[in-house]
């Protein structure tokens, strides 16, 4: 068999154009998800074979335009120019050609080999509109193919057109220059000439396109073009651009960016006027009726809250079942191994370090899968945009976007899926802000700590105290959000300009692919990091080991066990004492003790300090560590020898006020290792470090303030 030829096809398109469903239909589940280099914008690549070609399909981020203002748009244009895919397929929403062809026109200017996929053609047909395909083909200078992405219709034809274009590109490829009116055209010609003369390298960007971008005030392109020039030539070019922009604005009375934008819209409008018969029915008609219910002034919020409540319940209540199966499978495995393996340090590493680590990774998997199934449903159906519409006023008060509400709320269940859910936010600013605030929503793993402390010190008012802690988290998020919005993110206000797509019924295939994608990212990209971190934490908790001490203890325990029945309790006591000694002497224990001066002003005992460090593995571990360090069985909830009793005991050195400060600290301090890994994955290392740092500082300050002021007031 002849060797297959390789071909790269890039998919471009507006958000909501059904680009993803076309991509899914083309490649099925054979997709790799990663990030574009240097930015946290998702890159999806799929593979297929068609007519003897090995085709790599790259799904570009959905954009409306190709400016330098958004990361996504910069990614698209630099990919198209630098990587030069063989063919670019522009997936357009046929029901919304005016908006979509605006991008087509810009792709044409970029001199790429273009195929236009008229997607959602079924909706277009049922809207009784008519389009002269021959004419639109001629006007765009690119082959047009009708497709219905979610059904897979027309996908082969789309690929055929792409392959045809590659096989005899000369015949099909036609450059259609867009006229921006006499004023712009004149200066464009001059600028292009100047660029040619100065032999400026536009790094593969077509000169005319580069000239247009410079007129639009695109600083990135201007810098790129002038970078290779001598200082003289560069300043000459900059001056020429400035002059040209001024010329346009004096001649037309509007600034150049506007004039050019209007020129593009005008071209599209003209092309459509020639080739399209307007639809006779409004495809938003059905949507409008649904919207009258979903965004109704009175019904909107109850419906929204009900849907989110269902999503929350599904994620965390229904998810709890597979979660418990997984964790019992893990503990069964650990139990089995520890009986099989000889009692040794290696066995401890495998059982507690590795299996424990794997366990802490996979227990979140059911939550993540269910949550993303739900979120994909809300997104694909078009409801997410409405939810943002309803919630924006409220969230904007915190400096957030309407869509931030869902991740924030999910934070009460678990920060990990919540942080992953920030992907639904379009702007980087909103994603970072939301990711920084999500951990302040008290996750369910922190509840056992509150229950313990509140139960120990505020017996009859425990419920109210725990509720107060949750409220403090929300208030902290509001204050911190406002602070960040006014300081860190002041310079980059993200516009809320958001499209409300028509309601559509999502397809099962699309939902499943999306869910699987998230699960894969979680397991592949985050699982490894979490595993390594868990093993390191295990090491820090298990070393150094004083062999002699362990042996003495074990000998004593063995001799007690061998003795009469009465000695068994003494043996048990010795065993807990050994466990406590081991933690105390470990690196974590030493660090906790060394850090005691830092947490003492907060009213914490050194045992609490140690438990906060082990709590980095998972917040509920705080409870078990305290149990071990206070020489009690942490599972007992009441009476003598229980942990609450041990904490209440005056010898523990903890006052109710200190306990309250401790709960606040657990609420506010750095989230667990899994959440931190998720933060790194979503917003990068720099913001992860910031997140960890600011939460530590915040937790300390709040606990310090509460404890010290409380002490002064004599509480």
């Amino acid at each position: 068999m002849a060797k297959k030829r390789a071909l790269t096809i890039a998919l471009a398109g507006n958000p909501n154009s059904g680009k993803t469903s076309v991509f899914n239909s083309m490649t099925g589940a054979r997709q790799q998800v990663g990030n574009w280099p240097g930015v946290t914008v998702e890159k999806k690549v799929g593979h297929l074979t068609h007519r003897g070609y090995d085709i790599e399909v790259v799904d570009l981020p959905g954009t409306y335009s190709l400016t330098a203002y958004s990361v996504e748009e910069r990614v698209v244009r630099s990919y198209l120019v630098e990587k030069k895919p063989d063919v670019v397929i522009h997936v357009v929403d046929s029901g919304n050609l005016a908006r979509n062809l605006y991008l087509t026109v810009q792709l044409m200017e970029l001199d790429v080999d273009l195929v236009v996929g008229l997607n959602m053609w079924d909706e277009f047909v049922s809207s009784e509109a008519e389009l002269d395909l021959e004419k639109i083909h001629r006007l765009l200078g690119a082959p047009v193919v009708r497709t219905v992405g979610h059904r897979g219709d027309g996908i082969d034809a789309l690929l055929d057109a792409a392959v045809d274009l590659v096989e005899d590109r000369e015949e099909h490829h036609r450059h259609v220059p867009i006229s921006y009116g006499p004023h712009v055209n004149d200066v464009l010609v001059e600028l292009v000439e100047l660029l040619e003369e100065s032999e400026a390298s536009s790094s593969g960007y077509p000169l005319r396109w580069a000239a247009i971008k410079m007129l639009e005030g695109d600083v990135e392109i201007l810098d790129l073009v002038t970078a290779g020039l001598s200082e003289d030539a560069a300043s000459k070019l900059r001056a020429a651009v400035a002059r040209a922009i001024k010329h346009i604005s004096t001649a037309t009375g509007a600034d150049a960016e506007k004039v050019i934008s209007e020129g593009r819209s005008g071209y599209v409008e003209g092309a459509l006027k020639e080739s399209m018969e307007l639809p006779r029915t409004d495809r938003m008609e059905l949507s409008r009726r649904i919207d009258n219910i979903f965004t109704n002034r009175f019904l909107g919020y109850p419906i929204f809250l009900a849907l989110i409540w269902i999503l929350f319940q599904l994620t965390f209540q229904l998810g709890a079942y597979p979660q418990s199966w997984l964790s019992s499978a893990v503990s069964w495995l650990a139990g089995g191994l520890s009986t099989v393996l000889p009692d040794s340090l290696l066995a401890d590493l495998v059982v507690n370090g590795v299996i424990g680590g794997v366990g802490s990774v996979i227990v979140f998997l059911p939550n993540i899968m269910i949550l993303f199934l739900g979120i994909s449903f809300l997104e694909d159906s078009g409801y997410m945009a409405r939810a943002a519409f309803l919630m924006d006023r409220l969230m904007h008060a915190l400096g957030l976007h309407g869509k931030s509400f869902i991740p924030m709320l999910m934070g009460f269940g678990c920060s990990v899926p919540a942080i992953m859910a920030t992907r639904t936010l379009e702007s980087k600013r909103d994603r970072v802000m939301t990711t920084l605030l999500v951990p302040l929503m008290s996750c369910s793993a922190r509840l056992p700590v509150y229950v313990l402390i509140a139960g120990a010190f505020f017996a009859e008012r425990a419920g109210s105290v725990v509720f107060l802690i949750y409220v403090v988290g929300i208030v902290a998020a509001m204050l911190v959000g406002r602070l960040f919005a006014k300081t860190l993110f002041r310079s980059t206000p993200a516009p809320f300009v958001m499209e409300l797509p028509p309601y559509r019924l999502p397809t099962g295939k699309g939902l499943l692919i999306h869910m699987w994608e998230r699960a894969k990212i979680y397991l592949q990209k985050m699982g490894g990091v979490i595993l390594v971190a868990s093993i390191i934490l295990w090491f820090l908790g298990a070393f150094p080991r004083d062999k002699a001490m362990i042996e003495t203890y074990e000998a004593d325990i063995a001799s007690l066990r061998a003795a009469e029945q009465v000695e068994q309790t003494a043996a048990d006591a010795l065993e807990t004492e050994l466990q406590a000694r081991l933690i105390e002497d470990s690196y974590i224990g030493r660090a906790g003790k060394a850090l005691h001066p830092v947490v003492k002003p907060l009213g914490f005992s050194w045992e609490m300090g140690v438990s906060l460090i082990t709590g980095f593995v998972a917040k509920e571990v705080v409870v078990s560590t305290l149990g071990v360090l206070y020489h009690v069985d942490a599972t007992a909830t009441n009476g003598e020898g229980s942990l609450p009793a041990a904490l209440r005991n005056p010898s523990s050195g903890i006052t109710p006020l200190g306990g309250f400060a401790f709960m606040l600290f657990v609420l506010l301090y750095t989230p667990c290792i899994v959440a931190v890994t998720a933060i790194k994955r979503e917003v990068g290392t720099k913001w992860m470090a910031f997140s960890v740092g600011y939460q530590m500082v915040l937790a300390w300050l709040v606990s310090f303030g509460v404890y010290q002021i409380g002490t002064l007031l004599g509480l």
């Binding site: 908006r99 819209s265 459509l272 307007l278």
Partner: protein, 113 residues
């Protein structure tokens, strides 16, 4: 059309429509609006206010777009009468209705012929 008729888009009530005259502001925000079709001469129709009167849903060029109130203040429009329905393309095809007018029977179709 005189300058007195220029008002910020945010001041229109649901159901009203107007023609875009200018987009103020700068940078990413203005460009995004331009890219979304808020160019001179485009028709915008106010569809709905969110419960706290912010953000606001508009129909422009056949798509539904939401803007925050403060953003809609930066779009200057001229009111047009009679109020046209939300339609796909700018002012090019005058008198052509988009969508069925409730209670108006099929008048728009007859006019077309």
């Amino acid at each position: 059309m005189t300058a007195e008729l220029r008002v910020p888009l945010a001041e229109l009530e649901p159901g009203e429509a107007a023609m875009v005259v200018d987009v103020e502001g700068e940078g990413a925000f203005r460009r995004r609006l331009l890219d979304m079709g808020f160019t001179k001469g485009a028709l915008v129709r106010v569809i709905k206010l969110a419960p706290f009167r912010d953000p606001i849903e508009y129909c422009i060029g056949g798509t539904h777009v939401t803007l925050r109130e403060q953003e809609a203040r930066q779009v200057m429009v001229e009111q047009v009468t009679p109020t046209p329905a939300c339609r796909k393309h700018g002012p090019g095809k005058r008198g052509r209705r988009f969508g069925r007018g409730l209670g108006r029977g099929r008048a728009w179709r007859r006019r077309e012929r």
